[in-house]
């Protein structure tokens, strides 16, 4: 089961902090496939497709959307950072 987390403005826009998602297919799945699955919910979830506004981390490391998923990771979506 994937743990999917959302932060900051994205968490507010989606009205969701965390959810669990079970991948039906476990082979050759990437972050892009997960984004496709979530975006299919329609607005406001389709914002996840915007690679400029939404960054992704898998198991707490920033990654590209080509990153493979095996189905037991922690995936986080968030806007570009503004710390410091």
């Amino acid at each position: 089961m994937l743990t999917v987390r959302y932060f900051a403005s994205l968490r507010e826009a989606l009205g969701c902090e965390e959810e669990n998602i079970t991948l039906e297919q476990k082979d050759n799945v990437t972050v892009s496939d997960l984004v496709g699955l979530l975006s299919a919910r329609g607005e406001p979830w389709d914002v996840l497709q915007d690679t400029g506004q939404v960054l992704v981390a898998v198991n707490q490391s920033i990654c590209q959307r080509t990153q493979p998923l095996h189905g037991d990771e922690e995936v986080a979506f968030f806007p570009p950072m503004t710390g410091g």
Binding site: R5, F7, S9, A57, Q60, I62, A76, F78, T82, G84
Partner: protein
């Protein structure tokens, strides 16, 4: 036990409490092996809407517990492998802050000042673009998320094209 004299002592703290630069300086000064220079940087909350505006101003910092510490450790490790640093401290506050409060501290120790200056700047540039912190500004009843700046990414990317 033998102590590796090439070790860079790294202190990472993410906290809601304020910090004291004098104490952090003393700690690093005693931890670092033969420091010839210690550079420190402190980031403060600016008065972001100027004077004359009604309502209380505040800044709330959200972060991604776990990933934040990992990202800061990774940035510090990269600085230590790039320059001969003997120690570094990164402290970042989270939660609600008001103008003039301290947000972030970066202290870097080295044998020489050039490595200490560069290391501190490198850490701040990557902290801004890679550490998962997000600021929300509030003035009176109005709240909005701070948007990331292209100039911060440009500052970080220049390190990729230079050796020092």
């Amino acid at each position: 036990m033998a102590v590796d004299d090439k070790t860079c002592r790294i202190n990472i703290q993410v906290q809601s409490d304020d910090f004291d630069l004098g104490s952090e300086y003393s700690r690093l000064r005693h931890q670092a092996d033969n420091p010839g220079a210690i550079v420190s940087f402190i980031g403060l909350v600016r008065d972001f809407i100027g004077e004359g505006t009604e309502g209380e101003q505040s800044l709330t910092l959200e972060h991604y517990p776990g990933m934040t510490e990992k990202a800061l450790q990774d940035i510090a490790d990269r600085a230590c492998s790039r320059w001969p640093l003997s120690g570094c401290t990164i402290i970042h506050r989270v939660g609600k802050l008001v103008p003039s409060e301290q947000i972030v501290a970066v202290l870097v120790a080295s044998s020489h000042r050039d490595a200490a200056f560069s290391g501190a700047e490198f850490i701040m540039d990557y902290l801004k673009t890679e550490a998962p912190f997000w600021k929300k500004q509030q003035a009176g009843d109005q709240a909005e998320w701070v948007v990331s700046r292209a100039s911060d990414y440009q500052r970080a990317s220049r390190w990729k094209n230079s050796k020092h």
